[in-house]
Symmetry: C2
Subunit: 155 residues, 2 copies
Amino acid sequence: MNAKQQNIDEVFTQVKQILDDYLKKKGLRKTLERYTILREIYAINDHFEIDELYERMKNKKYRVSRATLYNNMEVFVDAGLVIKHQFGTNSAQYERAYNYRQHDHLICLDCNKVFEFCDPRIIQIQKTTENLLGFNIVQHSLQFSGRCRTLETNW
Amino acid sequence: MNAKQQNIDEVFTQVKQILDDYLKKKGLRKTLERYTILREIYAINDHFEIDELYERMKNKKYRVSRATLYNNMEVFVDAGLVIKHQFGTNSAQYERAYNYRQHDHLICLDCNKVFEFCDPRIIQIQKTTENLLGFNIVQHSLQFSGRCRTLETNW
DNA sequence: CTCTGTGCAAACTGTTTGCAGAACG
DNA sequence: CGTTCTGCAAACAGTTTGCACAGAG
């Protein structure tokens, strides 16, 4: 087992623990599917759509239905283990949330590419808002859209 | 004519000018529909979905098809006159962009209500990102999701 | 006159739902 | 054992597309 695989396993152990606690607290069942799906998600290093996850799992001969994926994404999001994004496209994009680089997104209106960036000041805004409005904030989602410099002459 | 109506007309004159410039620059045509739709949008003081806009216009006996609405929303967004949001729901939400209060959104995971807040620091983050990544940023979208204090005991 | 924009309806695509059987507690 | 979770397929909802005609340039 190489170092990378070991790290994945370590993270997954922690993530599994969080899921267990969450399921217990909510009175939900520990099903094999939930763990299998979560493990698969934590092996993906990027944003993904439900259909990509479905194909990935189908290729590995896991028998999971789309409905189950949709169901459980909701569970994972609520447990704080997965972040759900709605970029410009029609399908939702997900990414793992635990022990993952904090970052936000920058989408090019011309080429639709998604870039990532990180600015710690967003956390300060979050804290201020929490206090100001008496909200318990679980997640933030910041997107900038614009044009990367390649096609600039058009505009 | 009251003061409120006068203000709507004033704003619309400016907005119309921006659209005209944009259409000219892009070689698009000035159609009656584009102006009618834009005027209707600028009479709405809130977020709205395509279908709401469609119903509003139908009630006023304007004959507009959904396809035309979808087509032109894209034009307006690109012209910077309308902002498109994708909150948790499946349908996109729009709001007018010109001469409108700068604000962002806070969505409650329990009751799905959308609150607004404003923090000027977001603009600083935007500028930094623009410089850092060499991007020409047209629009930002910041959302916090969490729980308003009512149902706090559940979690 | 040409060609973009429009209305309409059908097609498409992502997501949700209903149901019968599997399996967690 | 009772009840939740799953897989499957059908239903649904928002959006896009194809086509014939209207109308801007």
